[in-house]
Amino acid sequence: MENALFTYALRLGDDSLVLGQRLSEWCGHAPTIEVDLSLANVALDLVGQAQLFLGYAGEVEGKGRDADRLAFHRDVLAWTNCLMVEQPNGDFGRTIARQFLFSTWQKSLFDGLAASKDQRLAEIAAKAVKEVAYHADLSAEWVIRLGDGTEESRARMADGLDWHWRFVDELFQVDAVVEALVADGIAVDPASLRPVFEARVAAVLAEAGLPEMKLPRAILGGRKGHHSEHLGHMLAVMQHIPRTYPEAVW
């Protein structure tokens, strides 16, 4: 399939960049300074991943677009991130719910991608997975602390998870791009990730004293550029400087 590798690298980069940008909105607003530092650090790692994935996507595409070009000069319909990462932060419980689900998924994805037949994807994943292990750990600890905390913290944690369940299925979505690359040994088969993800989520929820997850009907569309209204607003903030002054340098 033509351009499948470009699309796949772009999706990986878009997921990381959109979540990195979202998380950085917490900077200076988090509940404590330690949490502030943690979320900013996770955001930084995600932006770092995005630079590598988008840089590679641009090389594969071969039209002279580098990571910055792809990040700052694409309109919302051309973004291929999953819908979960573009969701507004909400309260701390909802942010932690998203981080826990995303990082748990990304950890097993990168573990698999490190064995990809595509050398660059394998290298990036092998590097990034060491950082994602910290993200998954941090967010799981918070799910447990909030779920097993006060009535208020438990309710907010449960609400946060409720908000995000409908976006879980999209993480495991298979389409022609994934199918073609799985056949070539380049992409990770989403079906192989699901048991690992579900087991980990179930274990953490049990420890947090939270009910088992029951997935509602999935909402899909992010990979095809069908986004919620939220993404456009986020991109407007992220892109307006480089778009206003396209040739500006530091």
Partner: protein
Amino acid sequence: MNDARAIMAVLASVPDPEIPAVSLVDLGIVRDVLTDAEPARVLITPTYTGCPATAYIQLAVREALDAAGMADVAIETRLSPPWTTAWITPDGREKLRAYGIDPPPASTALNSHPATCPRCGSNHTHEISRFGSTPCKALWQCDSCREPFDRFKCH
């Protein structure tokens, strides 16, 4: 042709921008110097994927090489195998400790091992935050002397 040792000596004089007590060689950021072909090549590696110092480090290496008359030496970035704290030299670990940062534990588990206070040497310490002032550090506190300190995260 520049010989590898002379190039390495130049690189050993370049401090890490965020922890200036240690050099890029101490931290294992300089992966190798290859002089088998012209031009000689310096292989460097980012520590953390999103480390904001990465671009600066590249620039600092370029400037140091240029200043030493080695403008022909090329710089290449390598991701694989990924950088690990195991590459921090014994000398680098001692410099970190002297600077007030507990060097990374040898184990690869996520900071399961208690940190050693770089000020009083006590092992009665606890983690305050796994994410500290830079991507590579976590924040700890000593229960004996009560001082907070940075720990280099195991990676």
